[in-house]
């Protein structure tokens, strides 16, 4: 007789435990507070080797010497770092909702609108394991395919145990813990994240998504991701999800490091819709303070960042590229929406080091309600970067008259043979445009969506297809009610 769904699932879960995951499944949550002891306890709970603990401690000690930066164009209540708990037990599914009936109807409504299939809705809502069998088995086949290609894709905590040589070699090489306040904090207390390694010449057979990291519990807080693409390889990684995510941990300070060797390409796409806080007061939303950087180390390597940021109370991040290899390419495509009381200070840094390097920046900022959107971009062309080329376009769109859009482009060119192009535009969705659409039979909300989608088209075209479809829907939903 064929095993029942539950039996198959139990078998799979047992396998997980064999691989050593048991150390992650601890029924413990730390009291608030951060000191060396907390760092040690985190490392112990994760079963980390000594060198990892040492690294964390160095980062922590360095963090203690730093002052929180205040130069960004954002306002927020100071974070009390001693009032945060730095390790939470993975939510036991037993404590979660038993069925979708117990889930906040607002959240369900959004899932419906985003067209999320029922089973995925259940996973997102944290419903007990036996209801999500299909997704688990899909994930298993997924991992087999990757193993065949030699691609490693696992939680970083697993990589630290199973592939220490790789982690040691690359961790902190693109974002050293000394880089900035939040990177130091993250390096000390990071909870989990993705580790991806693509061997020489391998084109990763499928798009990697955080969704398939089975161990993705409570990783939002201090996520650490490391992606390594060896010579001639290709990988496309998708982070995030369009469904609105709540988290009792308010501060999300993630670090993402990408390393691309010669002729290798890493495409990193993000769709972020963390809880933005109360639309009137902004209270309770997530602070998304992220350090993301890619090193295009080898000749003709390429790193592309594509992001659609619609959530979080505050988004503060500059996915950047260091174009070290000759002829390397860096790209940044971004749509950032700020509405209600959201604030975004986001952009990119393109640092041209090698010769004949190229960078492209396309940033679309949309402000609505009382949202404040700031683009901050830096293009630095070092003296050895002969024939560097950069194209930057930052466009802002204002919806309504209570919001703001700001642009701070920094351009530092040290090479006389560099070519730079910078374009910027600001537009409003005019009432006249909306009325024109109305007069053609299109209602206002659809008109606004259409116009905003047209505005964001260039960026959406860079997203992997299903992500693009979801991102468009997400933008539509996020803009609901912003045009009075």
């Amino acid at each position: 007789m064929a095993p029942s769904d539950t039996e198959l699932l139990e078998q799979h879960v047992d396998q997980k435990y064999e691989a050593g995951f048991i150390t992650d499944v601890e029924a413990e949550t730390f009291e608030p507070g951060l000191d060396e002891d907390v760092v040690r306890r985190i490392s112990t709970l994760k079963g980390e080797p000594g060198w990892m603990l040492e690294w964390r401690l160095k980062a922590f000690r360095h963090w203690q010497t730093l002052e929180e930066p205040t130069w960004a164009n954002i306002k927020y209540e100071p974070v009390d770092y001693q009032a945060i708990s730095y390790y939470s037990a993975p939510k036991s599914k037993k404590d979660g909702p038993k069925s979708l009936d117990e889930v906040d109807p607002e959240i369900l409504r959004t899932y419906e609108k985003l067209g999320i299939p029922l089973q995925e809705q259940q996973i997102l809502a944290g419903i007990a394991v036996d209801a999500v069998f299909d997704s688990v088995s899909v994930a298993t086949t997924f991992r087999d395919k990757l193993a065949e290609a030699g691609v490693i894709f696992c939680p970083i905590s697993e990589a630290i145990r199973e592939h220490p040589e790789l982690v040691k070699k690359y961790l902190g090489t693109v974002v050293p813990y000394s880089d900035n306040f939040f990177a130091a904090l993250n390096s000390a207390v990071f909870s989990d994240g993705s580790f991806v390694y693509v061997p020489k010449g391998v084109r990763c057979p499928m798009e990697l998504s955080t969704y398939f990291r089975i161990n993705a519990q409570n990783t939002g807080q201090f996520e650490r991701t490391l992606i390594i693409a060896e010579e001639g390889s290709y990988v496309s990684y998708l982070e995030g999800c369009t469904a609105p995510m709540r988290d009792e941990n308010q501060l999300h300070a993630a670090v993402v490091e990408l390393h691309a060797d010669a002729e290798a390409q890493i495409k990193y796409s993000t769709v972020q819709n963390w809880y933005p806080g109360d639309p009137e007061t902004g209270v309770g939303g997530i602070f998304n303070f992220v350090t993301k950087r890619g090193l295009a180390a080898g000749r003709r390597s390429k790193i592309s960042w594509t992001q659609v940021e619609t959530g979080s109370s505050i988004t503060w991040k500059y996915p950047s590229c260091i174009l070290k290899g000759d002829e390397s390419v860096g790209e940044f495509y971004s749509v950032a929406l700020s509405k209600g009381r959201q604030q975004a200070d986001t952009g990119t840094k393109m640092i041209h080091v090698g010769k004949n390097t190229t960078s492209t920046i396309v940033s679309k900022g949309i402000s609505a309600g009382h949202g404040q959107n700031t683009y901050r971009g830096a293009v630095r062309i070092l003296s050895g970067a002969e024939n560097a080329r950069n194209f930057s376009q930052c466009d802002s769109m204002l919806i309504g008259d209570q919001c703001g859009a700001h642009t701070f482009p920094y351009i530092d060119v040290q090479s006389p043979s560099a070519q730079m192009e910078h374009e910027a535009s600001t537009s409003k969705i005019g009432e006249d445009q909306v009325f024109y659409c109305n007069q053609r039979g299109i209602e206002t909300e659809d008109a606004v969506s259409m116009i905003v989608n047209g505005f964001c088209k260039e960026v959406f075209n860079e997203l992997p297809m299903e992500f693009a479809v979801e991102a468009r829907k997400l933008l539509e939903i996020s803009l609901e009610g912003s045009v009075g």
Binding site: Q433, Q439, R440, D446, M450
Partner: protein, 258 residues
């Protein structure tokens, strides 16, 4: 039942009264011309029919297909078959002409209980319509009106009209800024849509357009009121004499039947 009945319409914008008691009846199959000097309220009338918020109706009523038009939102009026060719068509960057029209047509079709057209069918349908206004296919994929010349914008309006198949088409000074050739193309487009099931309100400052789009009825709007109604010869009379001869006996509006 008349298609459109306007009774004692008073409308203001920015606290200033522009329409001061307009009466008008339009039936299916008819072409009405509305002429008048600058500031007479011609465009205001068009905007009120289209439903622009800034134009406040202070008195009177408008019945469209027997329904209270003023109760209907602009997009509902459009879906019920009212089309306005704008005097100053706006640009919509990032949204292609063809995508925009497909969205509009499908919104109207859905309202009428018809199935939406998919991209393929729509393209076939639209290509036919393009011939009518001698529209260059290249303009299909450009963002709506972006970078279009004045003439191209006006022709695009007529193109939209032919695609959306309205019941009542209001042309707000469609001829302004057009040279003779463009004018002829626009007029051909309008004439090709004449039908027993459709009515046109052609708002124009100059008589010239009416050589090509021959009206059934001509109304003269002066200072917010229709002071004279006549046949197509009234337009010629105006060309000859100007508006001044009608501006004197205000308040004593004579109506000469067509």
């Amino acid at each position: 039942m008349s298609l459109l009945e306007i009774r004692n319409l008073h409308a203001q914008v920015e606290e200033q009264e522009i329409l001061k008691g307009v009466d008008l009846v339009v039936n299916k199959g008819e072409i009405h011309a509305i002429m008048g000097p600058n500031g007479s309220g011609k465009s205001t009338l068009a905007q009120v029919l289209a439903g622009k918020e800034e134009y406040e109706v202070t008195e009177g009523e408008i019945l469209y297909k027997g329904r209270d038009l003023l109760e209907m939102a602009p997009e509902e009026r459009a879906r019920e078959g009212i089309f306005m060719a704008f005097q100053y068509p706006v640009e919509i960057p990032g949204v292609s002409n063809v995508y925009f029209l497909k969205a509009a047509l499908n919104a109207i079709r859905t309202h009428r209980g018809l199935e939406e057209m998919d991209a393929m069918d729509f393209l076939v349908y639209v290509r036919e319509k393009m011939k009518v206004v001698k529209m260059d296919e290249a303009l299909l994929n450009r963002p709506v009106n972006e970078g279009f010349s004045g003439g191209e914008k006006k022709r695009n309006e007529i193109f939209h009209m032919s695609v959306l198949d309205p019941v009542l088409a209001v042309l707000d000074e469609t001829d302004s800024g057009l040279d003779i050739d463009a004018l002829k193309i626009v007029a051909d487009g309008v004439n090709s849509l004449r039908s027993e099931e459709r009515a046109f309100l052609v708002i124009t400052h100059y008589q010239r357009l009416l050589n090509y789009i021959v009206p059934d009825v001509v109304h003269v709007l002066i200072d917010g009121r229709i002071v004279r109604t006549g046949g197509k010869d009234l337009a010629l009379e105006l060309e000859d004499k100007g508006y001044a001869w009608l501006e004197e006996p205000l308040g004593a509006a004579e109506t000469v039947s067509a």
